[in-house]
Amino acid sequence: MSNTIIPEARVRLALGLTDTISDLERVLVALAHRKAESAIKNHIYYDPIQREVTEFYSAQDGEFLQLRRIPVRSITSVYVDSDGHFGQYPGAFAAGTLWEAGVEYWLETEQANYGGAGQLIAASAAWPNTPGSIKVTYRAGYARREFLGMATSSGVESDGEIYTAGVDAGALAAAVELTAVKAFHTLYAFSKKRGAGFAPGGYTSETLGAYRYTLAGGAASATGMSIAVPAEAADMLEAYINYGALLA
């Protein structure tokens, strides 16, 4: 299981910072990498790194229950307890409230160990609408070799990570790389050592005759350091966005 979508090494490779790298560049690469990972997760509405999580839900739309993280690789357990109260009520989600997979609910899947939509379907045609009355433990996200576009077979890694033949999250990883490269260049261009004759900040005034402009300082200039997902990266991410998470 990874803590990051791509390793920092991939950002260094993309920037050509391999044989030699300065102390400043090392730090900026690390910062840019982290900023890019966060920006991508925010953009797609979930953390795509595969892991098992336990979450609480209430009914959203009849028989369908949209999970917050995709793609779903396996369901460990589903408990339904109208007195569950997010697991905080004494005796909540007791053994008797466990729903049986394949009988009381189904995971919508395209192939074994891969539910791209992240939806559970209730056999009773309705999930309870009491807040926090559904407790789901499940494994979701992409495997390391899927981020590399190298899942040519299916199996389970020694750490429990599930990978499926044909599942390719390479474009998602490439979007992180592209965003990190842009973030690095932004940080580098705005660094003090590169600041001679150039200063960050939004325009506060502009004159066309004898052209001149004034830049904001202080907090306004700091906004120039925020990292946006580049348009090309946003295009690559389109297939990975969990729009259903807006309901969950």
Binding site: S2, N3, P7, A9, R12, T18, R26, R144, D159
Partner: protein, 116 residues
């Protein structure tokens, strides 16, 4: 100074790693020190954790000196899915890590089958 290593999946590789201090001087490796090389993703358990104190179960070894020759046997190289990895090298003694460096290791994909 930086680490940059390329290896090939399922193929034995040998490369030399030198650890220097901030001034660029090669760090002295003393008797009893342990030269360690970790390969994986930063922030998680390494996929390969090699050391000069003992060879890995697949026979990979780290030379007990600085510079150190690292021999990555094909059994260990096969544990790495092709792609980029973080590589970390350090010299440790009873007080902890004496010096370290971090860089890039890239694994190239190869055709199926070993080479005798």
């Amino acid at each position: 100074m930086s680490l940059f290593v390329r290896v090939y999946r399922d193929r034995t590789a040998a490369f030399v790693v030198t650890i220097t201090n901030d001034a660029g001087t090669t760090v002295t490796f003393n008797s009893g020190d342990n030269f360690r090389v970790k390969i994986g993703y930063a922030g998680q358990t390494p996929i390969l954790d090699l050391e000069s104190d003992a060879a890995s179960s697949n026979g990979s070894s780290v030379g007990a000196s600085n510079p150190s020759t690292i021999v990555l046997k094909e059994g260990d190289a096969d544990l790495l899915t092709p792609g980029p990895y973080d590589i970390e090298a350090s010299i440790t003694d009873s007080d902890g890590i004496k010096a370290g460096d971090k860089g890039v290791l890239y694994v190239h994909d190869m055709m199926a089958g070993g080479v005798d």
